[in-house]
Every structure is written in structure tokens, then in C-alpha cells.
């Protein structure tokens, strides 16, 4: 069963068009949504959660049309948005009471455990929290009702590197259960590279690519050479390039490059940046 299946999803805003998006997140996997600001990542997430209305297309979550029983679905989904929106006067202890009366599966012991692990104070008001602390509380809330699917929109932004690593370990731990899946958008592509099984690139509302991360890393490489040497490569091999007075750098498809060329491994971030530039 797929955790999320999106077919031909469209949504129009003034100045934005989500163009027939097709995505599949298999159960037990982590998918990273990568895209520049305004690429359509948050729109996609809000459409999945029925926070905004789709123009057309089909979304299924855990095997069911997402509109069939959205309340029941949300019982099994943990969500972190780019801004945690708890009223500023509340503290973590009060959030626990609210959530205990919101989710059927709310686990106070698990919540208290996350508060301890993430060093979130119980009695401090939300308005006194730093951005990172707010995100941590939001993550604790998203994970304390034993969801099967986590949807994370920029969940690691605002966290310092140490906490970011801890949180990423928590997400990794979460997907040890093969019924658990994560859809995660982030600007910090290195985070996605660490934990994602699948990577999807969105650019101006269009899906540029959706592939297994390992396949992407195997399929593509980086060439460092002179501008003249670059022109010797078959055009079909070059997926993106950057030329300067000091030389050239290009993203290439490994199997299309003639033998004898030296290729360096690529990072997802490099691939993303080159592909976006090429798309423009």
C-alpha cells in the first residue's frame, strides 16, 4: 500500500499553477520534497490535508481518498508546518491537555518523553520560546499520537545542527516500522539527503523529477573541466552546467558520458541547483 498517492493534482492561485502533479510515496519510505520558495511544496501539503481545495486530480492517503474521512485520516497523520501555531499564552502542559482531548491515540507518556528528549520546558509559555523551541514542541505534538504518516513542512528549519541531527534520528527511528512513512519538505537539502529514500524536485509548480535517492546519486555525476572540454561531451549527457573564466562544472548522466572522463560523486543539493537553473 502507498502512504500517499497523488495523480494529476492541479491548483491555481494568481501567479501560481500546480501543474498536474503526480507523486507516490510507498509505505515505510521517506520522501523529500525539494523546491525553491513558491515551488508548490506547502501547497501540495495543504492539499493533502484538505486545508485548501484542489482544482482537479486525485489524492489518496493510506489507501483511501483523502476526502473520504479526513478526520479519521488526520488521527493517523502527524504534521509539522513551517510555523508552529500554538497560541502564545499556552505552555507544553496545557498543550498536552488540549491534545489529549483531540487525538484518540494521544500518549501523554510519549509526549512527556519527547519533551525531555528535546529539552522543552513544561511550564514556559509558548511566546517565550525561540523559533527552534517552537518547532521542537510542534514535532513532539506530531509524534505523540502514534501516527502512521508524518508530513513535515520545513520541520528542521530554525533548529541548531545538534538538535537537527537528533530530530533526524527520531524521524529515522520512526520509519523503522514498515507501516510508517514520512513526506518531508526542506530547504536544507543535506537533511533530506541524510534520511530520504525518494527525492522529488518541484519547480514553479511542476514536478521536475521524482526518483529513489540512491538511483539519483548513481545516475548522475559532476564533471570539472575546461569550457572547451565540456563542448566535447554529447549534449544528451549534460543535465546542467556552470561556465566561468576558470573552467566549467557540469552535472552529467554517467551512462551517457564517454569512457575516460573523471566524474566526481554528486550531492542532491548540487543536482537540485543545476536542474533548477537548467529549467529556467
Amino acid at each position: 500500500m502507498n502512504a500517499i498517492e497523488i495523480k494529476n493534482l492541479t491548483k491555481t492561485y494568481p501567479g501560481f499553477y500546480l501543474d498536474h502533479l503526480n507523486l507516490t510515496l510507498p509505505s515505510g519510505c521517506i520522501m523529500g520534497l525539494v523546491g525553491e520558495n513558491g515551488a508548490g511544496k506547502t501547497t501540495t501539503i495543504k492539499l493533502i490535508l484538505d486545508m485548501i481545495h484542489k482544482d482537479d486530480g486525485f489524492i489518496s492517503v493510506m489507501g483511501k481518498d483523502h476526502l473520504e474521512n479526513i478526520r479519521l485520516l488526520k488521527e493517523n497523520i502527524g504534521v509539522v508546518l513551517d510555523e508552529a501555531g500554538f497560541p502564545e499564552c499556552l505552555n507544553a502542559a496545557e498543550v498536552n491537555t488540549i491534545m489529549k482531548n483531540t487525538y484518540h491515540n494521544w500518549d501523554t507518556a510519549a509526549f512527556e518523553d519527547y519533551l525531555r528528549k528535546l529539552s522543552i520546558p513544561r511550564e514556559k509559555q509558548f511566546k517565550e520560546f525561540s523559533r527552534g523551541m517552537k518547532m521542537k514542541l510542534s514535532i513532539a505534538v506530531a509524534m505523540s499520537h502514534h501516527p502512521k504518516l508524518l508530513i513535515l513542512d520545513e520541520a528542521t528549519s530554525g533548529l541548531d545542527p545538534v538538535v537537527r541531527n537528533e530530530v533526524i534520528d527520531m524521524f529515522n527511528e520512526f520509519t523503522r516500522d514498515e507501516n510508517h512513512s514520512i513526506l518531508m519538505s526542506s530547504h536544507i537539502v543535506s537533511d533530506l539527503e541524510k534520511i530520504c529514500d525518494y527525492i522529488a524536485f518541484l519547480h514553479k509548480g511542476k514536478l521536475l523529477l521524482c526518483e529513489e535517492k540512491d538511483i539519483l546519486l548513481e545516475e548522475y555525476g559532476v564533471v570539472h573541466c575546461t569550457c572547451e572540454q565540456l563542448r566535447e561531451l554529447p549534449p544528451s549527457a549534460v543535465k546542467g552546467k556552470k561556465e566561468s573564466a576558470y573552467g566549467a562544472e557540469a552535472i552529467v548522466k554517467r551512462d551517457a558520458v564517454p569512457s575516460g572522463w573523471t566524474l566526481s560523486p554528486i550531492t542532491i543539493e548540487e543536482l537540485f541547483v543545476f536542474m533548477i537553473k537548467e529549467a529556467e
Binding site: E83, G85, P87, L90, I98, Y103
Partner: protein
């Protein structure tokens, strides 16, 4: 729904302390004055508590965040109406106690007028949240504030004028507002039910169309 009620309860206890203090001050003032405005003001303050809560929801972006939790849109709307009713009941209780004290001090136990007052006041107080909630759900508090102040000024002026006109009539003023008999009470209760149901249905429709 229980979770939403807890959230609004915590918020009301922290953000609306001043409203509650003013309810007590005006109710205390009504004990020593015959001005109807002093009686109506606590009710009016109680009725706008849900609007204040929506304003804080918007400020903290809870109005967006709420969309990730298993709440139906009807629940997200209904909780504000429940808060309005709870606070109206609280305001009515406070002025009810104030009027009992007033009757005790004057020795004039006019139970008929007292009963009328206890029905007329919350009924009138219901009007402002029923007008404001759909408009605030539609436009947001910032833009809905214009309607908010218009309703506030209109109702306050109305009761201010009535207060001056009936200055010497005391509690009997409420009884004199052409509402007498059980029939009038039923008409008033029917009016409450219609305005409340109409406002709720409209607010739910607005919220269902809304993108958050």
C-alpha cells in the same frame, strides 16, 4: 471538540481577564444606578469574547495550524459559538446577582421585571456575536473589525440612549420594553434560536469555502 474547548478556555482565562474584571465593575455600577447601559455592557463584553479569541488565533496562526488536527470545520466554527454562549451565561449570571443585590438594597422585589431582564439582556447580547462571527470568519478579524466597531457603537449607543430615557424607571425599565407575558418571552426565545442557527449555518458555509 473537547480539545478546542480546552484551548479556548485556557486562552479566555489568560487573555480575557480584563473583560471579566469590567463585567464585574459594570455590574457593580448597575447596583447603584438605573442606567441600562451599565447592565448591558457586561453582556456586550461577554458576547465579544469569541471575537477576541479569534483575533489571538490569527495572531499566533492557530487558524492555519488547526487544519492539521482531526477537527471538522463545523467544530472549529461551533466552538466559538459555544464560548459566546458560555460567556453570555456568565455575564447574565453576574448581572442577575447584581440585580438581586439592588433589589435587596431597595427592598423592591419586582420578580416579573427581573425575569424579563434575565431574558432580554442575553437575547440582546446574542445579537453582536451572531452578526460578528460570520463576518470575522469571512474577512478575518482585521477587516471584520470595522463591522465589530460598527456593531459595538450601534448597540452601546442604543442602550446609552435607552439608559438616559429610562433613568428614573429603575429595573422596571426592562419590563417596560414592550415585552410582557409568556408570549413575548417565547417570541424572544424564538428570535434567539433563529438568529443563532442562521448565524451558525452561515459561518459554517463560509468556513467550508475558506482556504487556510
Amino acid at each position: 471538540m473537547k480539545g478546542l474547548l480546552w484551548k479556548d478556555f485556557y486562552m479566555a482565562m489568560k487573555y480575557c481577564r480584563m473583560n471579566m474584571l469590567l463585567i464585574f465593575i459594570f455590574a457593580a455600577g448597575a447596583v447603584f444606578s438605573d442606567n441600562l447601559f451599565l447592565l448591558f455592557y457586561p453582556i456586550m463584553m461577554a458576547g465579544v469574547v469569541p471575537i477576541s479569541l479569534i483575533s489571538y488565533d490569527e495572531k499566533s496562526k492557530w487558524n492555519v495550524y488547526a487544519g492539521v488536527f482531526p477537527y471538522s470545520k463545523e467544530e472549529l466554527v461551533s466552538v466559538k459559538y459555544i464560548i459566546a454562549l458560555l460567556f453570555l451565561a456568565f455575564g447574565t449570571l453576574v448581572i442577575g446577582i447584581a440585580m438581586l443585590v439592588k433589589m435587596g438594597l431597595s427592598g423592591n422585589y419586582d420578580w416579573r421585571s427581573y425575569g424579563m431582564l434575565m431574558i432580554v439582556m442575553p437575547s440582546a447580547g446574542l445579537v453582536s456575536p451572531c452578526i460578528l462571527l460570520p463576518s470575522v470568519f469571512r474577512l478575518g478579524v482585521e477587516k471584520g473589525r470595522v463591522i465589530y466597531y460598527a456593531v459595538l457603537i450601534l448597540v452601546a449607543s442604543l442602550f446609552g440612549i435607552l439608559g438616559f430615557m429610562e433613568e428614573n424607571a429603575g429595573i422596571a425599565a426592562a419590563g417596560n420594553l414592550s415585552i410582557t407575558g409568556i408570549g413575548a418571552v417565547l417570541v424572544l426565545l424564538l428570535f434567539d434560536a433563529v438568529i443563532l442557527a442562521g448565524s451558525w449555518i452561515l459561518a459554517v458555509r463560509i468556513y467550508n469555502r475558506k482556504e487556510i
